[in-house]
Amino acid sequence: MTTPVPGRRLPGSASSTPVDTPPPDVPALLLRGVVKRFGTLTAVDGLDLEVPQGVVLGLLGPNGAGKSTTMKMLTAQSLADEGEIRILGHPIPAESKWARARMGVVPQHDNLDEELTVEQNLRMFSFLYRVPRARRKEAVARAMRLAQLGDRGDTLVDDLSGGMRRRLLIVRALLHRPELVLMDEPTVGLDPQVRQDLWGVISALRDEGVTVLMSTHYIEEAERLSDEVALMAKGAVVERGTPADLVAKYAGSTVEEYTPGDEGADVLERRVREHGFTTRRTGVTLSVLRAEELPDSLRDRLGTPHRRASTLEDVFVTLTGESVE
């Protein structure tokens, strides 16, 4: 038996009106103690995550962190072994179909129909997303405009560039004006120019008040697009906050990079850590976080630093011990 959520129809209601927008205090996404195992491997391990409506949350983590499994559980294409999942108030998987009617999903794998045109691909999904008949044509035209493919309606998907295909994949998920958009590694494998082009649409979604959960392993992407970032490692969220707050909390304002001399990196690292500072290895160099607080007496013994601003990557590596791009 499911708990009725104010603002939506009850199961079995004869009404055919669209599902109402939930009250603002209902989180767009709620995961509590979610566990997913594959045999002996625990892919998601007690995941707690709450995303308020209207927030763009970047789920940042390396490959194997459990991001894609989490995304699949949100669309009920993977079922949690333990825990509770709610989307816009709908319990998952019991009311998954209702939730899916109100959210758009941009998959990691390009599953466009290559033998069909841009317009046909969108029209096909306007049926699957049950866009009302009177709105179908307009929804497809709008999506093509958004994807900057307005003049490419008759072009076969097979003839589109990688960037165009990605844009099409994203706007396909927006045909039914979803309140929540899940993006699983939306820019993976794309060149930087195309990636930046796609960031525009994600920013625009945020401006429109759409809730976005975007998994990524690109630090810059998470930093630039997200209101908040959840750092994920080994199936759980290890820290969460705005990119600026996380950087300030864990890495300060400045990082100094030192190239170890004859004494070696281990000695240098031990010396810095004895003073309570956090370090990370970056290739042959040793990075010292929160370097603005380094006492001059210690700095003089470390050598000549290369100074740079602290980044989310410094935070991520510090917290998870793993690297991302």
Partner: protein, 275 residues
């Protein structure tokens, strides 16, 4: 890329009517509509295969074998074969794409990942896919009949029932094929399916020769072959002479097979696409 801010979202938002777990017509229609749009690209090739294959069968077997056989079970051989080919054509038009296309869409194209991210459940997906193939079979199943008429089969009012029988049998075979596609784990497994399942199904169904000439155990086994029941229904409709009891029995077997396969296909497909 930029998004125009507007408040028309409610008008475009989909409607989900049913209690969770129930089959919704809108979802099934969505899946069928998707196939219809795809068909717009592939209808020429599909139609070519649907016309050429039975024509060749009728030409080679009808005239080649027919010249040697003359009459069989009271029918001219080309009449006997023509009606049998209708059922075989239905099986090939529904079961083959159900096995091959469904497997490819699930395993390689990630098509179902996309569909199931929309408000569509696995049973609705399976039902929609099978329904489309059944509708296609209902239409293309008539092609061999028309070809057979061209070869001398006498037209009759009973032929009007053939599209409906073809639809029913097509639905059964499509569900059967979808179930198989969800059972197999690799393309190589299809060899077992085609050689070990397709061939006996279409050979032991009274298509090319009456079952009465076969050993008793084979005749008994053929009773479980849905193609046999489809052949009997089609032949009975075209030539008459099929009693109401026998017709009900054949329809009942096909319906029972549909129910069984609908559950099996939905169950197995769910196991494959929902982790």
């Amino acid at each position: 890329m930029s998004i125009q801010h507007d408040r028309a979202r409610d008008d475009a938002r989909p409607e989900v009517h049913a209690r969770p777990g129930r089959i919704e017509a809108d979802a099934v229609i969505g899946v069928v509509a998707r196939e219809w749009i795809l068909y717009g690209q592939s209808w020429r090739a599909t139609t070519f295969a649907a016309v050429v294959e039975p024509t060749l069968y009728l030409l080679c077997f009808g005239f080649g074998m027919g010249a040697l056989i003359g009459t069989l079970a009271g029918f001219s051989y080309i009449d006997f074969l023509g009606t049998g080919i209708v059922a075989v054509s239905v099986m090939f038009q529904s079961m083959m794409p159900a096995v091959i296309n469904t497997f490819i869409k699930r395993r390689f194209l990630h098509t179902y990942e996309g569909i199931l991210a929309a408000p569509v459940d696995v049973r609705e997906l399976v039902t929609g896919e099978a329904l489309w193939l059944a509708m296609r079979s209902g239409v293309y199943g008539c092609v061999p009949l028309l070809v057979a008429v061209g070869f001398g089969l006498r037209p009759g009012p009973g032929m009007l029932l053939v599209p409906f029988i073809a639809f029913l049998a097509g639905f059964a075979f499509a569900l059967f094929g979808i179930w198989i596609s969800a059972v197999i784990t690799s393309v190589r497994s299809m060899d077992y399916v085609f050689s070990g399942l397709f061939t006996p199904l279409f050979l032991v169904a009274g298509t090319f020769f009456p079952l009465t000439e076969l050993p008793a155990w084979v005749q008994n086994a053929a009773m479980a072959n849905p193609l046999y029941h489809a052949v009997e229904l089609i032949r009975g409709s075209v030539f008459g002479g099929l009693g109401a009891g026998a017709a009900l029995l054949h329809v009942g077997v096909l319906l029972g097979f549909i129910v069984l396969m609908w559950f099996l296909a939905g169950f197995q497909m769910r196991r494959r696409v929902v982790g």
